[in-house]
Assembly symmetry: C2
Homo-oligomer: 294 residues x 2
């Protein structure tokens, strides 16, 4: 039940910045490196987000274990498991927290579920159909025997995020927590469908950055404001126009449309495709990228 | 894929306190009531936690739909779906948040996974073996084809809870969030293993209260302090005794041992059972209570 993790240990111009690529998943403890996969790139300077810097010793390029910890700790061990080096990247505040290796990891869970854990991040204006598409998606995927879970921005506010208000910093924290929980679900092997307005690019980018490459799949509900406002399923645009809700996305607060979403769902001319049709587009993407198998 | 929810709509001495029993699961939207299951108990006064109060009209005892929302909203509809009544129990702060019904619910996911979602809440002193037992548990359950996920107190502090310190109110918030996330996992159908010291009874009770009856399974690692301190796997007791860590559970902060844990794991005389033996005890409980089947 150990992971057959495929990472490359990349040497950079500074031992302090050596890193593994791709970034490790949350639960990764010891990643076993096969000798063949240990790379060597001295001139690499840009390092991807969320990586775990490794302080590797010059003479120890053949070490076969690297313990990668999301808090920036990284420990390179020799094949007998003894510690060669230890670095602490993110300061001292969490030095008494030890990352626990789990005997069952993401790869094991994915094999059990016959799917790959990921996050479908549905972003768009209120009334753009995020929840409706999420619902159609979960239905269609469940019918194919896939395990999904919807994190709905509104619903999470009743539980995990019930301490948060709608002021700016709390909104960012709301998105951050949804992103962190989505990451846990993806790590559990679940296809997690996050349905949140998430109007700001930087908040969405932060959620993307904590997930392994490819596992954050942004689905942009590109529905014109006038259409959303005409639908106004919760009557919120009406309240916002009347000044009864302040800072409402699309009215008196911006929606920063994604520039490079993996998937864009939009109207065809004046006609909005059915939720099922939209869901099928997302499912095709998942199929193509291999997320519907282990 | 609609739920065959079995609830009883209970009338109390006050229409404001009418409720459904058992309390609804998180994702429940519309619960269809069969006429036969609509109860009538005028003299009931104590109402269980986490229920959704329903303001039912005197003359409408035959309504066939009740929309139950965890924030206290409850809407009784007639069989055609039109709203008869609406109540708001928990104040006005969340009135613009609408609970979304999902087309796939907990029961559907449980059928897919052939298990029941629940939370195994492992509580105990640092060094009592929480993570080790969690690890053995996840391994043994995975080997039986069951989907588990470990929420480790330490690990969560690297992500979701990285904004929290170790001061008293942040510790409570740490536990609250672990509880809320565990609840989401259980709702997803996963057997969620939360491994957290969680020293205070009231914090554990709060986590229990947000889950459906029976789904919060407290596992108390009843290992004497002297044994935990002798193990000291992270060297934290030594630091605490030296005064380098303040407010350390068991040393200068209390651990409130559970009084009514579902499962207690303890030494037999001087000998501590193996993690696998302890895990088997937990698995027997799950089997007995039907959590290892849909």
């Amino acid at each position: 039940m150990t992971a057959s993790a495929k990472f490359t240990l990349v040497y950079t111009s500074s031992p302090e910045l050596d890193f593994v690529h791709p970034p490790p998943s949350t639960k990764l403890g010891f990643a076993k490196f096969r000798t063949t996969s240990i790379g060597y790139q001295r001139n690499m300077t840009s390092i991807s987000k969320n990586l775990a810097p490794i302080k590797a010793m010059e003479g120890s390029r053949m070490q076969s274990y690297v313990e990668v910890k999301p808090n920036g700790h990284a420990v390179t061990n020799d094949s007998n498991g003894s510690i060669l080096h230890k670095s602490l990247a993110n300061g001292m505040e969490s030095e008494n927290i030890v990352w626990h290796k789990s005997s069952v990891d993401k790869i094991d869970r994915q094999e059990l579920l016959q799917q790959k854990g990921c996050v479908l991040w549905i972003t768009g204006l209120s009334g753009s159909g995020k929840s409706t598409v999420a619902c159609a998606l979960t239905g269609a995927l469940h019918a194919r025997g896939k395990l999904t879970y919807i994190l709905d921005g509104d619903n999470v506010r009743h539980g995990l995020n019930r301490d948060l208000t709608f002021k700016s910093e709390d909104r960012a924290e709301n998105i951050r927590r949804v992103g962190e929980v989505a990451k846990l679900f993806a790590d559990a092997g679940v296809i997690c469908i996050a349905s949140v307005i998430s109007p700001y690019r930087k908040d969405r980018a932060a959620c993307r950055s904590i997930l392994p490459d490819g596992d954050f799949i942004e689905v942009f509900m590109d529905i014109p404001l006038c259409v959303c406002e005409a639908r106004d399923p919760k009557g919120l645009y009406k309240l916002a126009r009347a000044g009864k809700i302040k800072g409402f996305t699309g009215i008196d607060d911006p929606y920063e449309a994604p520039l490079n979403s993996e998937i864009v769902l939009r109207q065809e001319g004046e006609v909005c495709p059915s939720p099922e049709t939209m869901a099928e587009k997302v499912i095709s993407y998942l199929e193509e990228k291999g997320y519907l198998q282990a």
